[in-house]
């Protein structure tokens, strides 16, 4: 007689209780269909510029295949320091305040694990990247969601922040420019939040992976504001700005005490980021600016095109100032995000991501990535117009 093992009983209760990603369900559905136009892709449509690929190949030819230091190649950390200072006026010391990670995803994970004790609450600005909630739970924390709305351009307000703070609140995590809304925050808007953050002694985890992808103005990092560097954990990486998603290379910057904690987790789990990816990143920071600017220009043009397109077909849409997502409202159709996205996929073969997978406040919206060719965008808008015609 064979013994039946319960899979659930072998998993930790935390892991067993995690919900599968809503994006995954859509991926499976879309992947099974032919002729789908995808606006569901959360990564650049550019291939990593050749100079970075070539730098990595060259490093392999020269035999750079060994581990690097746990915190990342010293010369890469120096370049990151220079880059952050020049672009966003934030200054971190390359020796003990910068850690190179396996993507920004690892940086988020180790930041949370380094600061959370069981039961600590983490404020999460919604709609948010799908990983925040599960990673907080895996670190023993409790996510508490702060809502943002299209009427407010998806910006976090002081009122919303203050309402949800409790004695157990340890930190706040957000991503600006935002995935999925494309919303951004200006320095003046950050300043309205600082007294509350200081009063309640909150740590700030600022995911700035889309920092380079802003249109019309430079990104304002909360870490650059007076008094904020000491309480901010700044996370970024190479995936979005340099079209290097598959290289899995990011970094986290924080004060030496916080960074030392994160380094412990990193060295016991990842040891170090891949050497060949670090070589490519070094090239990106030293010589990749023009490639990046070319891509940003293209994203801005396509953003203008799709936002106008959504409005033309009757979907109200906030003009995103950053990232490469539009987050139009589909509330006027009377359908939920998931219903609309499913109908759009099944009837018109256009894949978008339902807004509610990014949290409750994303319901009534769909996330459309415009990191795809103009030809595909035009076709997708035509098909969406056809669906809107059927729904009216």
């Amino acid at each position: 007689m064979s013994m039946q093992l319960s899979v659930k009983s072998r998993l930790s209760s935390t892991v067993a209780s995690l919900k599968p990603s809503g994006i995954r369900r859509f991926f499976d559905l879309a992947a099974s269909m032919e002729g789908v136009i995808s606006l569901g892709v959360g990564e650049p449509d550019f291939v990593t510029p050749w100079r970075m690929r070539e730098a990595s190949i060259s490093s392999l030819e020269r035999g750079h295949t060994a581990y690097t230091s746990n915190a990342g190649m010293p010369q890469l950390r120096v370049e990151i320091q220079k880059y952050l200072e020049e672009r966003f006026s934030v200054s971190y010391h390359p020796e003990n305040e910068i850690l190179v990670t396996v993507g920004a995803s690892e940086a988020i994970d180790i930041a949370l694990r380094a600061i959370l004790d069981p039961g600590d609450e983490v404020l999460v600005v919604e709609p948010c990247y799908v990983s925040y909630e599960p990673v907080i739970r895996l670190a023993g924390g409790v996510p508490v969601f702060l809502k943002t709305t299209m009427e407010n351009q998806f910006k976090l307000t002081p009122e919303e922040l203050e309402t949800h703070i409790t004695p157990r609140t340890k930190a706040i995590i957000f991503c600006y420019p935002n995935n999925p809304t494309g919303g951004t925050m200006t320095a003046d808007e950050w300043k309205t939040l600082l007294p509350i953050i200081e009063k309640h002694d909150l740590l700030v985890i600022s995911d700035e992976i889309y920092a380079e992808l802003t249109y019309g103005r430079m990104h304002d990092s909360i870490a650059a504001l007076p008094g904020m560097k000491d309480r901010t954990i700044l996370i970024s990486g190479f995936s979005k700005a340099f079209a290097m998603t598959g290289w899995r290379l990011g970094y986290v910057c924080a004060t030496p005490d916080l960074l030392a904690g994160m380094l412990k987790i990193h060295q016991y789990t990842m040891l170090c980021a891949p050497t060949m990816a670090q070589m490519a990143a070094l090239e990106a920071l030293r010589h990749g600016r023009s490639d990046m600017e070319r891509m940003i220009e293209s994203y801005r043009q396509r953003r203008n095109f799709v936002v106008d397109g959504f409005r033309q077909i009757g979907l109200s849409c906030h003009e995103p100032d950053g990232a490469f997502y539009a987050f139009p409202s589909i509330a006027s159709t009377g359908l939920s995000s998931s219903e609309f996205a499913e109908k759009l996929l099944m009837e018109e073969k256009v894949a978008v991501v339902p807004g509610d997978v990014f949290g409750e406040s994303g319901n009534g919206h769909i996330r459309c990535s415009y990191a795809t060719s103009m030809e595909q965008l035009k076709k997708a808008l035509d098909r969406m117009e056809s669906l809107m015609g059927k729904l009216s």
Partner: protein, 166 residues
């Protein structure tokens, strides 16, 4: 329209000259009429010279053309330098491009298109080499084009991304 937007407009047209003024207007956040006016001005100023299609002739069956690059050494003339002979070479319809070169062992680089290698050879020996100022020629036939006008003709990167990702 400011010069930055004008450059963007030119880049867009260079990438796809069939793009409509309306579409470009949306992309650059400018009214269609402004784009139309800007294009008309750029055409009048000869900044936009032509709207060609970039054809990969290698893929066209029985394409009857061969291309050659010819290094031409010439004797420059008083007052007109290389210009006179260059202009004369430009007038031949089979000549696709003429460049004055520096640092080479020749002076003019002439890009030629002919139906057969014999036709190119005839042109070089009977038309080009016999010009008064021409001292010597060296003809190189193009065997295969890999990249032209910034476009890789064969190895186009496909979208390898998953349909839906975070």
């Amino acid at each position: 329209m400011d010069s930055k937007k004008q450059r963007e407009l030119l880049h867009l047209l260079e990438e796809d000259s069939r793009m409509s003024a309306e579409q470009i207007g949306k992309m650059l956040a400018e009214p269609t009429e402004v784009i139309e006016r800007a294009i008309a001005t750029l055409e009048a100023e000869k900044v936009i010279v032509k709207y060609p299609a970039l054809i990969n002739w290698e893929r066209v069956e029985d394409h009857p053309y061969v291309n050659a690059m010819i290094d031409v050494k010439v004797t420059p003339k008083r007052d007109v330098g290389f210009d006179e002979v260059a202009e004369r070479i430009c007038r031949f319809p089979e000549v696709k491009a003429v460049y004055l070169m520096s640092g080479a062992s020749y002076d003019l680089s002439v890009v030629l298109e002919g139906k057969t290698m014999r036709e190119v050879a005839t042109f070089v020996s009977q038309k080009l080499a016999t010009l008064d100022s021409v001292v010597s020629t060296a003809t190189h036939f193009i065997l295969k084009r890999y990249k032209h006008d910034g476009i890789e003709l064969e190895d186009r990167d496909e979208d390898r991304r998953m349909v839906v990702t975070p």
